[in-house]
C-alpha cells in the first residue's frame, strides 16, 4: 500500500515534469517576445532588453525551466531547507501573480465541473437503470434517441442555443458571469441561491454530453450484469427482486462507472473551456484561452500545472475508492 502510494507519487512528479517541459518548449517555439508585449508599444530596444532581463526571458529556455521548477518546489534549500508555498510565477501581461489567478479561477471551474458531474450522475443513474430494466420500451427508445442527440451536440452550439432561448427570449436566466458562493461582494450578486442560479445553464451545457455517454454506459452495464450467473444464484436463493437489484446487480454494474468517472474528470476539464468561454466564467479554462491569446506563458503553464495536479490527485482518489469498494482489486 505504502509502496503503491510512493510509486504513484513518483509517477505524478514525472508526469508534471513532462507536461511542463512540453509547455515550455512550445512557448519557446512561438515567435513572440514577451518582453516586448509586457513593455508596451512605445518601448525602445534597450527598454525591451531591460524588461526581458527583469522577466528572465533573455536566458535560454532550460535555465528558465529550471527556475520555473525551482519556484514550483514545495521546499527550498535557500538558507537551510524549509517548506514554502509553491510559486507559479508572475503573469507577463496582467499585473497579477499566477497563484492569485489560479486561486480566483479555481472555485469557478470547480463549481462548474463538480456541479456538472453531480447533475449528469443524478440524471444518468436513474434513466440508465430504468431503460436497462425495460429494454425496447417507450422510455428506453426515447432515452436512446436523447443519447444520440446528446453525444452529437457540441457544447458551444448547445450553449449558444440555450442562451438564445432562455436568456434572450424568455429572460429566465442571467446572460453569464459568476456569483460567489460564500462572501457577499459589494454590489455583486452572491450567496448559494445566486450561485446556483448563475450556474444552471452552464451546468446543463457542460453535462449534456457526459450525461448521454453515462446513460448509455450505465444501461449497458446493468443489462450485462442482469445476465450474470450470480444474479441467477441470488434468485434461486429466493431473493426478492428489490434485493437482487440492489445488492447483486447495482453493486456490480456501477463499479466500472466509478473508474470511468475518474478518467472522465480530466476530459471534462477540457470541455469546461468551451462552457466557460460562452458564459463568461473566469475559470481555469477562460484564463487558459486568455493566456494563449496574449502569449502569456506563465498563466498558461501555471493553470496547466494546477489542472494536471488536480487530475492526478482525483485519479488517485478514485483508484483508492475503487480498491475499497471492489474486493478483487489489490493495490500493488
Amino acid at each position: 500500500m505504502i509502496q503503491y502510494l510512493i510509486r504513484r507519487l513518483i509517477w505524478a512528479v514525472a508526469l508534471l515534469l513532462v507536461v511542463t517541459m512540453i509547455g515550455f518548449v512550445l512557448f519557446y517555439l512561438v515567435p513572440a517576445n514577451p518582453a516586448k508585449q509586457a513593455c508596451g508599444k512605445a518601448c525602445t530596444p534597450e527598454m525591451i532588453a531591460r524588461v526581458a532581463h527583469y522577466l528572465g526571458t533573455d536566458r535560454p529556455w532550460y535555465i528558465q525551466y529550471v527556475r520555473f521548477v525551482g519556484r514550483l518546489m514545495p521546499v527550498s534549500f535557500h538558507g537551510g531547507p524549509h517548506f514554502k508555498t509553491p510559486n507559479l510565477g508572475k503573469s507577463f501581461v496582467s499585473n497579477q501573480t499566477v497563484n492569485r489567478i489560479v486561486v480566483n479561477a479555481a472555485p469557478e471551474t470547480a463549481s462548474l465541473v463538480l456541479g456538472g458531474v453531480v447533475l449528469w450522475m443524478l440524471i444518468a443513474l436513474p434513466v440508465g437503470i430504468l431503460s436497462a430494466l425495460r429494454p425496447r420500451s417507450l422510455l428506453d427508445r426515447t432515452t436512446m434517441t436523447g443519447v444520440l442527440i446528446g453525444v452529437s451536440t457540441h457544447p458551444l452550439f448547445l450553449g449558444l442555443v440555450l442562451l438564445y432561448f432562455f436568456t434572450n427570449k424568455l429572460h429566465w436566466f442571467p446572460i453569464g458571469g459568476y456569483a460567489n458562493f460564500w462572501h457577499p461582494a459589494y454590489g455583486e450578486p452572491s450567496g448559494p441561491l445566486q450561485w446556483a442560479y448563475h450556474l444552471i445553464l452552464p451546468w446543463f451545457t457542460f453535462a449534456v454530453l457526459f450525461m448521454a455517454i453515462y446513460v448509455r454506459m450505465i444501461r449497458a452495464n446493468v443489462m450485462e450484469t442482469m445476465n450474470e450467473d450470480y444474479v441467477r444464484t441470488a434468485r434461486a436463493k429466493g431473493a426478492p427482486e428489490s434485493l437482487v437489484m440492489r445488492s447483486h446487480i447495482l453493486r456490480n454494474a456501477l463499479l466500472p462507472v466509478v473508474t470511468m468517472l475518474g478518467m472522465d474528470i480530466g476530459v471534462a476539464l477540457g470541455g469546461a473551456v468551451f462552457t466557460e468561454s460562452i458564459y463568461g466564467l473566469h475559470g481555469l479554462g477562460w484564463w487558459t484561452i486568455w493566456g494563449l491569446n496574449n502569449f502569456d506563458s506563465p498563466t498558461v503553464l501555471g493553470v496547466l500545472v494546477f489542472a494536471t495536479t488536480m487530475i492526478i490527485v482525483f485519479n488517485l482518489f478514485v483508484d483508492l475508492l475503487y480498491a475499497w469498494i471492489d474486493p478483487r482489486i489489490r493495490l500493488a
Binding site: T233, A236, K237, A239, P240, H248, N252
Partner: protein, 342 residues
C-alpha cells in the same frame, strides 16, 4: 407420494427468429431421497426443464405450460411470491460454473447468511453460525478464517463447495444440480460428487443431477432420463438404461464415449449435428441422424412407451423390439469383449 411430479412440461422462448421449443412435453417424477439423472447434449432442454420448475426463466419471452406438482402444489401456477418462498428453502439449485455463480463483491459469509435470512426469522448471529456449520460440513479447511473471504480468494472446487453449502443451508427437499462438476478437474469432480452423495444421505434430499457425462450419471443416479432435442428419448432405472438401452440415441451416446476399460479403434459416431429447436424435424426428432430410421420415423413422432416386460423403462422409438435387443446386445458385447481382451 412423489416429491415432484412433472407432467407434459413445455417451455417455449419467443425470439426474433421465431419460437424456440426448448422443452417440448416432458414428464417425470422423483421420490423423496431419490437421485434422478438427466443426460443430454447442449441444447437438449435438460437445464431449461429445471429452470422452468424453479421459475427462473426470463419472464419477458417465456411461454410455459404443463404441470409441476411439488408436495401437491403446482409450481407453474403459484405466484412469484410463493415461488420465492420455495426457492432456496424447499428446492435449491447448484450451477455449472462456480467461478461466476458467486457474487464477487460480497463475502461468502454474507452470501450464505443471505440464504438463511431470506427464509428464516433468526438473528444474524445465528445465521452466521449456521453458515459456518455448513462451510465445515462441505469441507472448507479453516472455515472460521475463511467465512469473511471473497469468492476470488477460493479455487474452483472450493467455490463449488460454497455453492453446495449455500444450497443445503435450509435443508431443501430437492436439490437441483446443473452440471455441477463440468467446469472442474477430474480429481475435484470426484470430491464434489462424493460430497453431494454424502450430504444427500445426511439430509435426505432428493437430487436432480443434470449432466452430459454418462459416467457421472452411472455413478450417482437411481433413475435416468435421456433427453434429445427438447424431448425425452428414454427413461428408466440406471441399471436398465446401461444394461438394456432401448433408444438408438442412447446407443450413440454410449458408443461415442471413449472408455478407460475398452480399446476401440473407431468410436461409434452419431452423424450430423443436433437439430435446431426453431424448426425441429418432423416425426421422430432423431431420425435425420439415426442409422435405423424407417419411413414411419419421418412422419410420426413416437410416444414414450414402456419397454415390453419393463413397465418402468420407457422409450420413444418406432424400432421393433427384436432389432433393439439385438443391437443393444451387440453394443454392450463390444465393450465387454474388448474390456476382457485388454
Amino acid at each position: 407420494m412423489a416429491l415432484l411430479e412433472v407432467k407434459d412440461l413445455k417451455t417455449y422462448f419467443a425470439t426474433g427468429d421465431g419460437i424456440v421449443k426448448a422443452v417440448d412435453g416432458v414428464s417425470f417424477s422423483i421420490d423423496p431421497g431419490q437421485t434422478l439423472g438427466i443426460v443430454g447434449e447442449s441444447g437438449s432442454g435438460k437445464s431449461v426443464t429445471c429452470l422452468t420448475i424453479m421459475g427462473l426463466n426470463p419472464k419477458r419471452n417465456t411461454i410455459s405450460s404443463g404441470e409441476a406438482f411439488f408436495k401437491g402444489k403446482d409450481l407453474l401456477k403459484t405466484s412469484q411470491q410463493q415461488l420465492r418462498e420455495i426457492r432456496g428453502n424447499d428446492i435449491a439449485m447448484i450451477f455449472q460454473d462456480p467461478m461466476t455463480s458467486l457474487n464477487p463483491v460480497h463475502t461468502i459469509g454474507h452470501q450464505l447468511m443471505e440464504a438463511v435470512l431470506l427464509h428464516n426469522d433468526v438473528p444474524k448471529q445465528q445465521a452466521r453460525a449456521r453458515a459456518l456449520e455448513l462451510l465445515k460440513q462441505v469441507g472448507i479447511p479453516r472455515a472460521e478464517g475463511r467465512i469473511d473471504d471473497y469468492p476470488h480468494q477460493f479455487s474452483g472446487g472450493m467455490r463449488q463447495r460454497v455453492m453446495i453449502a449455500m444450497a443445503l443451508i435450509n435443508n431443501p427437499d430437492l436439490l437441483i444440480a446443473d452440471e455441477p462438476t463440468t467446469a472442474l478437474d477430474v480429481t475435484t469432480q470426484a470430491q464434489i460428487l462424493d460430497l453431494i452423495v454424502k450430504l444427500q444421505q445426511e439430509y435426505g434430499s432428493a437430487v436432480i443431477m443434470i449432466t452430459h457425462d454418462l459416467g457421472v450419471v452411472a455413478e450417482i443416479a437411481d433413475e435416468v432420463i435421456v433427453m434429445y432435442a427438447a424431448e425425452i428419448a428414454e427413461r428408466g432405472h440406471v441399471d436398465r438404461i446401461f444394461n438394456n438401452p432401448r433408444h438408438p440415441y442412447t446407443w450413440g451416446l454410449m458408443g461415442s464415449l471413449p472408455r478407460l476399460n475398452a480399446d476401440v479403434e473407431r468410436l461409434v459416431q452419431i452423424e450430423g449435428q443436433p437439430p435446431s429447436l426453431l424448426r425441429p424435424p418432423k416425426g421422430c426428432r432423431f431420425h435425420p441422424r439415426c442409422a435405423y430410421a424407417m419411413d414411419v420415423c419421418r412422419t410420426v413422432d413416437p410416444v414414450l412407451a414402456p419397454v415390453p416386460g419393463e413397465p418402468d423403462h420407457l422409450q420413444a422409438c418406432h424400432l421393433d423390439a427384436e432389432t433393439k435387443t439385438r443391437e443393444a446386445e451387440r453394443l454392450l458385447g463390444a465393450f465387454a469383449t474388448e474390456a476382457s481382451a485388454s
